[in-house]
């Protein structure tokens, strides 16, 4: 293998070609290794706009780098180009099972092969103390020869060998989530077994259960309803296999190793038969299937280049002859007379504005100046919560935080800013990262407030849907007053939930029903 060299530019080693996918994490391209001509998949994440901390991404890479199984897509390396991270992975030319299903669902005999291979992949992962946490057809890839590979560990978590073997994070995709994952009551490798069962149904029927319902409603139904079953014209062994995976109590679900002994997969054929699914998809495409699929741009924009960093501040020294000692009106941050950024602003696409404030496009200097202009136009500073205050009054408020040396306030800022949202009692702080990243901490707080028990209405809808939804509005409002109003709204929901347990779930249910105009299934 290559010895490490200096700051490797991925483009020295890899050529990026067509975009083949897009996810919450970023985009995936096909490409090849210049040294070996081997095809690879390249995941590109812009760290500047990624919501995850770099440390978290590093954790994922650490996990990937320790996996080596024919049933898991192989990790080749990661490289930085500007603020864009390239994660180079094994390329599977067969495509994902969800693509391969586009010409039609799979026959049972094919499903049995896929499930057996998935079980082998899960057996490996679980023996390594790792969870996948997002098993679904879209994350199952096929190689040209029909080998089945688990992909997209974007959300995988490692179970600690010494600490509690239960994870407490809210990840995955609602339709495939197990009841215990949704309820955030802690889960282990059995959560993957549930998702496998749902995936089996997906492969057989084309969709997971509840696919026609809104995901919010599904979060509510999965813990409440009896587990789904495989209905239709399928063998008894297949239906039995699915029912083993889909048991409400995770302890009742067999492990991957045990499931490999089940008749359904024991009878399955060789993986090379799966190439028929790939051929079928090729034929379907050749006949014009999937013509309408979107072909979006493949540009990954670079960060906007701001002005030269030497040009604004006056340090009283002249390092460059061509730089004037003072720069006044030409500085790039200079307020312009553009419209203030408010709710009505056309620049904001309500449906697509991400919760993260850093995702405001690539032009950082641009948005800064727009914000600057809104302040300048108003001619005063935004008032502070909880009550509007004059600058003097505010100064006193802040001083209150300052211990003898006058710096402790910032010490708190430095340490809590990244790690301890549970120290805040404001929901907007806890939800800084938006849905669903920080749901956990909040849930713990709420559980402290009123003891949770399986029979009590759970507060998932409040914690995972409503509060984060309101939190996601914060970056889109410009005034402190609006932010206070949103905080109040969050508190009102929380209060209502305390007085009328379950009310949020019912409200969401009502809204979803009326919005979707689906028949209520109760």
């Amino acid at each position: 293998m290559s010895q490490s060299s200096t700051h490797q530019d991925p483009e020295e080693f890899y050529v990026k070609q067509d975009r083949i996918g897009k996810g919450s994490f970023g985009e995936v391209y096909k490409g090849y290794d210049k040294r070996t001509q081997k095809t690879v998949a390249i995941k590109i994440i812009d760290l500047e706009s990624a919501e995850d901390e770099i440390e978290d991404i590093q954790q994922e890479i650490q996990i990937l780098s320790q996996l080596d199984s024919p049933h898991v897509t192989k990790y080749h390396g990661s490289y930085l180009k500007g603020s864009h991270l390239w994660i180079v992975m094994e390329y599977c030319s067969g495509g994902s099972c969800s693509d391969l299903m586009k010409p039609g669902v799979f026959r049972e005999e094919y499903i049995a092969i896929i499930i057996r291979e998935l079980l082998r992949g899960l057996e490996y992962l679980h023996s390594e103390g790792k969870l996948h946490r997002d098993i679904k057809a879209a994350n199952i890839l096929l190689s040209a020869g029909g080998e089945v590979k688990l992909a997209d560990f974007g959300v995988s978590g490692q179970l600690s060998g010494t600490l509690s073997a239960k994870k407490n994070t809210f990840v995955g995709t609602p339709y495939w989530m197990s009841p215990e994952v949704i309820k955030q009551s802690g889960y282990d490798h059995k959560a993957d077994i549930w998702s496998l069962g749902i995936t089996a149904i997906e492969l057989a029927k084309g969709e997971p259960p509840y696919a026609d319902l809104h995901p919010m409603k599904v979060l509510f139904l999965i813990p409440k309803n009896p587990p789904p079953t495989l209905e239709g014209n399928f063998s008894k062994t297949f239906r039995e296999f699915v029912s083993y995976c889909l048991q409400r109590d995770p302890r009742d679900r067999p492990s991957a190793r045990e499931l490999l002994k089940h008749k359904f997969v024991r009878m399955a054929k060789k993986t090379s038969y799966l190439t028929e699914l790939i051929d079928r998809h090729e034929r379907w495409k050749a006949e014009g299937g999937g013509k309408h699929e979107e072909e979006e741009h493949d540009a990954v924009p670079d960060l906007a280049v701001n002005g030269d960093s030497e040009e604004l501040w006056d340090f009283g020294t002249v390092r460059h002859a061509n730089r004037p000692a003072t720069i006044g009106r030409t500085a790039p941050y200079k307020p312009t007379n553009g419209p203030p950024l408010t709710w009505e602003n056309d620049d904001i696409d309500w449906a697509n504005t991400p919760p993260s404030s850093t995702k405001q496009g690539s032009g950082s200097s641009d948005s800064t100046s727009r914000f600057a202009s809104s302040i300048a136009n108003k001619g005063d500073l935004p008032p502070l919560p909880p009550a509007p205050a004059t600058p003097n009054r505010f100064a006193q408020d802040t001083v209150r935080h300052i211990p003898p040396k006058g710096l402790e306030y910032s010490s708190q800022a430095g340490s809590t800013r990244h790690e301890a949202p549970d120290e805040y009692d404001e929901y907007d702080q806890a939800f800084e990262d938006g849905y669903p990243a920080k749901v956990d901490e909040l849930n713990h707080q709420l559980e402290d407030a009123h003891l949770d028990d399986d029979e009590l209405p759970d507060t998932t809808l409040l914690d995972s849907v409503v509060l984060p939804a309101i939190a996601s509005l914060f970056p889109r409002v410009s005034s402190q007053e609006a932010r206070v109003a949103l905080s109040t709204l969050q508190r009102a929901f929380t209060d209502a939930e305390r007085v009328i347990p379950g009310v949020t779930a019912e409200l969401v249910n009502e809204i979803v029903d009326s919005v979707e105009r689906v028949d209520d299934d109760r």
Binding site: H7, Q62, S65, G77, L80, L303, S309, G316, S364, P382
Partner: protein, 329 residues
């Protein structure tokens, strides 16, 4: 099969098996049968040792003690770290598990492996040098992380010249490894605070000369992460003296003011959390105050337009506080 079951190999057997096989990795030709056999022997013995330490059955204390003793007397841990790159993929992972398991092992309040390593500095440095080989850097990085949890061992690294290799490793490796090296640098500097505070105070110039190269790195991640770490170090109470020195230096202030205008919003934001300390200082040295005063109007305009889209009450409060402080200059 039964032959092996009835005659389990003892810890000294297992350790000897590995020690005998390692030289064969060097002497035999690559790809040769002899090398393959040596590799397999190592893999097999490491698996047995791992099973002995945390297998499916409860570990037997006397066997574990025997194994630990054997690794100390033969310097097995050093051999493992030095040769890990020659081992098979799974065997490398087993080395990490075995090393870290032994390191965590306690007898009462004593940690025998920690005591052993404290007398064998070369093992710590060999682990750090793992960053020189990208094939194993993440494995040795995991061992290093476990080593750094122990103050006694962390101190050995911090006070060594080898400590100053971190910036080199961070700057010359690919993303995953660079991040791992950075994470261990951070671990060294933040886990055992009073010990580190004393070090930084005593070695202020050398440390910051080195650390500043990371802040000025052309690498986006290195720059962003080292700024963030700088903020954490300065704002930690244990480092009060260090902070006072840092914020009295005008070159540092200029660097932060320029970084406030970096093209990356994340870097601007991290720079803010260092810049604020200069401004919040109630006893600003004249050279600092002069710069701030000279840029007073520009700073006010700049800060009023700085990251107004942030939904972060604490940040907004701090920004307002800085504005007020600068207005009063």
């Amino acid at each position: 099969m039964n032959f092996f079951k009835t005659k389990p190999r003892t810890p000294p057997d297992l350790v000897r098996g590995i020690r005998d096989a390692i030289p064969k990795l060097d002497t035999s030709a690559p790809g040769s049968e002899a090398r393959k056999k040596a590799c397999e022997e190592i893999t097999k013995n490491l698996q047995s040792i791992k099973a002995l330490l945390h297998g499916e059955v409860e570990p037997q204390p006397e066997l574990v003690a025997q194994l630990a003793q054997e690794t100390y007397t033969t310097d097995l841990l050093l051999l493992l770290v030095l040769h890990i790159a020659r081992f098979e993929f799974e065997a490398r992972k087993d080395v990490v598990q075995i090393f870290n398991n032994l390191l965590r092992r306690q007898i009462g309040s004593r940690s025998p492996t920690v005591e052993y390593l404290a007398a064998k500095h070369e093992i710590i440095f060999a682990t750090l040098a793992g960053y020189e080989n990208e094939d194993v850097a993440l494995n040795t990085g995991m061992i290093l992380k476990e080593i750094l949890r122990h103050e006694q061992l962390c101190k050995i690294l911090l006070y060594s010249d080898q400590f100053y290799k971190f910036p080199h490793y961070i700057e010359t490796t690919t993303f995953g490894i660079s991040c791992d090296a950075f994470a261990n640098l951070k671990e060294t500097l933040t886990r055992h605070k009073p010990m580190v505070a004393e070090y930084l105070d005593r070695n202020y110039d050398r440390f910051f000369a080195s650390f500043t190269t990371l802040i000025l790195s052309n690498n986006y991640v290195t720059k962003r992460q080292s700024l963030k770490l700088l903020g954490e170090i300065l704002l930690d109470r244990a480092n009060f003296n260090v902070m006072t020195r840092y914020i009295a230096n005008e070159a540092n202030l200029k660097m932060m003011m320029n970084l406030l205008r970096d093209k990356s919003k994340n870097i601007q934001f991290e720079a803010f959390h260092v810049f604020k300390v200069f401004v919040a200082n109630p006893k600003k040295p004249p050279q600092i105050e002069i710069i701030l005063r000279r840029n007073k109007e520009k700073l006010l305009v700049f800060l009023k337009g700085f990251h107004n889209d942030k939904d972060d009450e604490q940040f907004n409060d701090e920004k307002q506080f800085l504005i007020v402080q600068i207005q009063m200059l």
